[in-house]
């Protein structure tokens, strides 16, 4: 049975956006079965901006799953923003997983982080700052593996802010790739198995890519899509 996944990221709602975003989501419950939001929900990561996100996305009639992005961490209010989303009846993944649609769909993931791509990446060596940077990504990838393996659902999706592959960064300056994602995220998904990876963060990137293990990757950053959200159908032809 087909599952229709709506996805968008990098909506960057500031307080100026209050009351303006909701119109883009009108009728989404007729077009999709679930909405995934791939981080950078806010501009500065304040509680006030988090409240704008809650108000614009609540009660859409379908499950809404968020991860946070780097902007949502800027004011050290990320835990509070995640809690506000959950209180409003939505999901906020933090290197965790959720089972949706009566066990037909599992979504695992979180913010992710950078480090670069195989052969051109940082490693856990040298100064403590360098080691901490790379360790952060490795520990995230380890938690994703566990979260994914725990999902016994018909389909599994990874939701991230940072990119797992470099194909979907095409259009960004190659010099900043290590700040846009890490191959460790793709490696975790390839090891545990998934049908799709959805991410954002790379505003100048490209929508479509694939992991070395063959999992489809979609960059759904709003400036990349140029539309309110993309819709991906899993599990056969759309009826």
């Amino acid at each position: 049975m087909t599952i229709r996944i709506a996805a968008v990221g990098d909506i960057h709602l500031s307080e100026h956006a209050r009351g303006t975003y909701r119109a883009h989501l009108d009728g989404i419950d007729e077009r999709a079965d679930v909405l995934l939001v791939a981080g950078d929900l806010t501009r500065h990561g304040t509680v006030e901006e988090g409240q704008v996100v809650v108000d614009e996305f609540r009660d859409l009639g379908i499950p809404v799953v968020f991860v946070l992005g780097n902007h949502d961490y800027h004011s050290d209010a990320e835990q509070e923003i995640a809690a506000m989303l959950r209180t409003a009846g939505m999901y906020a993944l933090d290197d965790s997983a959720e089972v949706l649609l009566d066990g037909r769909l599992g979504v695992a993931g979180g913010k992710g982080f950078g480090g670069g791509f195989a052969g051109k990446c940082a490693s856990e060596f040298g100064e403590p700052e360098t080691k901490a940077f790379v360790r952060h990504t490795r520990e995230i990838a380890d938690r994703w593996r566990i979260a994914l393996k725990g999902l016994d659902t018909d389909h599994r999706i990874v939701l991230s802010h940072y990119s797992p592959v470099k194909e979907t960064l095409a259009g960004e300056p190659p010099e900043i790739y290590p700040f846009l994602g890490s191959y460790l995220l793709a490696e975790a998904a390839d090891a545990a198995g998934a049908d799709l990876i959805v991410h954002g963060h790379a505003h100048a990137g490209t929508e479509k890519g694939v992991t070395p293990g063959g999992i489809r990757v979609r960059n759904v950053a709003l400036p990349v899509l140029g539309r309110a959200y993309a819709i991906y159908c899993l599990g056969g032809e759309e009826l």
């Binding site: 709506a6 990098d10 883009h24 505003h203 709003l222 140029g226 993309a230 991906y232």
Partner: protein
């Protein structure tokens, strides 16, 4: 005494200001300098963010003529479905 500021550093300073200034926090803006002309390129999500980006750039590079070529992303209707 006047210190000559190489354009390379001015561009870097402006780009950093746009990323770090609380009014903007906009990360993907490209800054090019040709003589005393400063060109801004990239995409933002709100029309007034476009203007704030130019304002922060002007303050970080006083005396330069700012050309704001940043565009505001239009949020279109959700399009075709993709069957995976």
């Amino acid at each position: 005494m006047d210190i000559w500021d190489p354009p390379h550093y001015v561009a870097a300073r402006v780009q950093r200001a746009i990323a770090e200034d609380e009014r903007t926090n906009e990360l993907g803006i490209r800054v090019d300098i040709r003589g005393d002309h400063l060109f801004l390129q990239g995409q933002v999500c709100e029309e007034d963010q476009r203007e704030r980006v130019a304002q922060v750039a002007a303050e970080a590079a006083p005396g330069m003529v700012v050309h704001n070529e940043v565009i505001c992303v239009a949020v279109g209707e959700p399009g075709e479905q993709e069957v995976l």
